[in-house]
Subunit: 485 residues, 2 copies
């Protein structure tokens, strides 16, 4: 990390993002165009995301497994919409062990097909159902316009694949996992998301119905942060996944799939980040508290360091790092850890030792209404006694404050235009939430006129009927429309 | 799982292994030849292996990151020995996004080259060193003679890659990580392993020195269960990984790499398994204790189940499963969980409820010297009171007993032949441990005559000098020679 400042968000949001990812050492560009290296700090964040999700998957009865990277090309062709959707994005292995392959192998862009083929083998009877399996892994979708975490050729994710005896059960599973994603995003990531159904033209290739969680980034653009699909019997029929029901009759299963990827790191960056760098929600932060000893000479150092060590021991319950580098100044360290988004900084100097206090600095720079502690130059001085409890409370407060701030920002940037002319003006500057008749024609017209797309038809609807904002015909639902990542 | 028995180990060890992997539902064959599906039970075992290793890596100062799956073909060519070793095993992507690629991409068989290219970018000064990074992921080495876990086209592993300022530090790291693997194998896997140095002809393609942990399987063949390599400056020079030292002079770094894979699951199976199926060491077992309620009718059931629930609550500290399936008999359940290697079974019937006892059955069927509890038909009857402590002690005892048994077996199958003729006879039936002059000619002769290979030159040596068992020239080291997986 260098001492240079980031390009401010309001000057060039995209450039701000690119610089932040590199300077906070979250990720880097790999030698192969389109590929990404996730650096240790970024991967530690992903590991915390994984842990928070995995716990929720297991609590809802799911188990993990691993399916192969390579899929025969012919498998993708078994589901028509699926192959049409994914063909342009495939990486294909044609040579193996020095020989040209008879059948090319696709590097998985997603695993419905290969998992479907295994489910056909494993599932015989209604007693084998439901099958509730998740996989953590890497997938490849050919993409050269790289944007680290948001758009890369290879990315990391989890993909859940479940099989059920009834349509209703599979639909319930689809919505259950959408709810798990929303709970995770809101309560762990402090990213307020809206749960909804994707339009026909935005749905997953091969799904009957797709749902998503949608978040608003700091530039007001939308980001699809997780998806959950009801696949009906499309893959069951393509791969012949059948079971004997209680009447001993062969039936096709009903399947779902759902995924959340390293893209979510992009959502965290663009929801909470500011011009000083990353701002991490405490529940996911690899380092929750950084402690910086302040001293001018060896004599002060010998007074300060034992207190720092005691604080470290006392705060054993939080993810804490002591920055005792001697080759850089405290000021450099402040900037460095602000760039990396550590939620809370503790400074300990000789005066603090004398007074039995420490200085606390919140990374999230709350507005007036959030100032729970007195402060000077952004610092609060609190007693060393009871510090563990103070820090716990403050981390919780930072977590809620980030969510509040992001929610306020989002709600302040959603508008309800009175007509289509106003929609076109408003959609460049935030989201709109409008009545829509549901026709693909109206959706296509909006996209052509504004480059904005329908994000989702939210589960929460006002009810009643109005006129479609585009064509004026009867509409029974409202839809979010926005420019999206 | 079916009721059929496994082919006994002494009839056909290889067939026993193949059947066990499928019947215990650890893994399955994928549609692409050579590929493997790791089923949920096998993956849960791998997750426990990962956790035990990851904790050790972090305790020794390492962090995790993720490097890309695709490597430009030209990168492999930069290190001569490396490309020669790996070329015959590569899977190559030639088509991406519908177009023929200008430069083919290799699906990583290991990541020294791509990680080297990133280290060249990240490392500038001695202050940036050491770099201690590990990666959990999948790699591909073309291989069609599939043996699940042991030999598959794609497998899962971790690969550590470190860079240091001095040769000594890099050599220390190589041995430190070998020690970490040995500690893990012995204390978590109950797999007694021997740490040693590989011969020149058996070393990693691109290494200066390779070391390994070697284990003896139930058929007395050897299995290399983890490797740690000192790479010298080979990759530093190939990828120009240089740093400014304290005198402001450019220097090449010294690097290491080390890996342990899903192959270790094969080691566990073949070290501890018996004719009834898998036997898992308690510390890694996904399920440590299975509780089976025994009853003949609803009335008995209503007496037994509340006790089972209480036991489950009391044993909250262990990984426990209650098997309350009603469609299968207790006998079926016994066989089923024995096949899956669950270390301890608890049976609770109406008589147990009456007497305040439970029946315990150890999966590892200890010999006389291990019988710490009285028994009848393999069952021990113990009071429900204090069960948590009884179970803890018993799981520890099973863990040590497995290690003792495997060590005794191994040591009983290592021989010290008096001459080369005896070596040739003995090596078909266990390992030999012989003096060796270190020449590649002698090693090649043994391989040609016996199909056995040098496994490792163990770190622990008797000292002194004798005659090479092959050529009779002076030898200062002993080597393990065995047929290997």
């Amino acid at each position: 990390m260098t001492d240079e400042k980031l390009t401010p968000r309001n000057v060039d949001f995209s450039e701000w993002y690119n610089q932040l990812v590199l300077k906070a050492e979250l990720a880097d560009y790999a030698p192969v165009r389109g590929c990404m290296v996730v650096r240790p700090y970024g991967w530690a964040l992903w590991e915390n995301i994984q842990a928070a999700l995995d716990q929720r998957f297991k609590a809802t009865g799911h188990v993990n497994a691993a399916f192969p990277l390579f899929i025969p090309m012919s498998f993708l062709e078994k589901e028509k919409a699926h192959v049409e959707g994914f063909s342009p994005e495939l990486a294909i292995v044609t040579i193996g062990g020095g020989e040209k392959l008879e059948e090319p192998l696709v590097v998985r862009p997603t695993s419905e097909t290969v998992i479907g083929s295994m489910y056909a083998k494993w599932i015989q009877s209604y007693r084998d159902l439901p099958v509730l399996i998740n996989q953590w892994g890497n997938v490849v979708r050919w993409e050269l316009r790289t944007k680290l975490f948001l758009r890369t050729l290879e990315f990391y994710w989890q993909e859940g694949h479940t099989a059920h005896t009834s349509e209703q059960e599979a639909r319930e599973e689809t919505m259950r996992m959408l709810g798990v994603y929303a709970d995770f995003a809101i309560n762990e990531g402090a990213v307020p998301v809206i749960q909804g159904v994707k339009s026909e033209s935005e749905k997953f290739a091969g799904a009957v119905q797709s749902t998503s969680i949608e978040a608003m980034m700091g530039d007001t653009r939308a980001l699809q942060a997780g998806t959950s699909h009801f696949l009906g019997q499309n893959f069951a029929k393509a791969f012949n996944i059948q079971y004997l029901d209680t009447n001993n009759t062969l039936q096709y299963v009903w399947t779902t799939s759902w995924g959340l990827s390293t893209r979510f790191i992009g959502a965290i960056i663009m929801t909470h980040g500011d011009d000083q760098g990353l701002v991490l929600p405490p529940r996911l932060a690899p380092i929750q508290v950084v402690v910086i000893p302040i001293y001018k000479n060896d004599s002060e150092r010998s007074i300060v360091l034992p207190v720092v060590e005691r604080i470290k021991a006392e705060l054993a319950g939080v993810r804490l790092k002591v920055d005792d580098r001697t080759e850089v100044t405290p000021g450099f360290k402040f900037n460095d850890w602000e760039m990396r988004g550590v939620p809370l900084r503790i400074e300990v100097g000789p005066k603090d030792v004398e007074k039995g206090t420490v200085a606390l600095v919140r990374r999230d720079k709350p507005g007036k209404e959030d100032k729970s502690l007195g402060s000077a130059h952004g610092r609060s001085f609190v007693p060393q006694v009871g510090l563990a409890r103070t820090v716990d409370l403050l981390l919780s407060e930072i977590q809620s404050s980030l969510l509040r701030r992001a929610t306020t920002f989002r709600d302040g940037n959603i508008q309800d235009p009175k007509d289509y002319t106003e929609l076109k003006e408003m959609v460049g500057n935030g989201w709109v939430f409008s009545w829509w008749c549901g026709s693909q024609e109206c959706e296509a017209k909006v996209k052509e006129d504004t480059k904005a797309t329908s994000r989702c038809i939210p589960l929460e609807q006002p009810g009643g009927k109005r006129k479609c904002i585009v064509c004026g015909k009867e509409a029974s639902e409202k839809v979010y429309i926005a420019k999206a990542y």
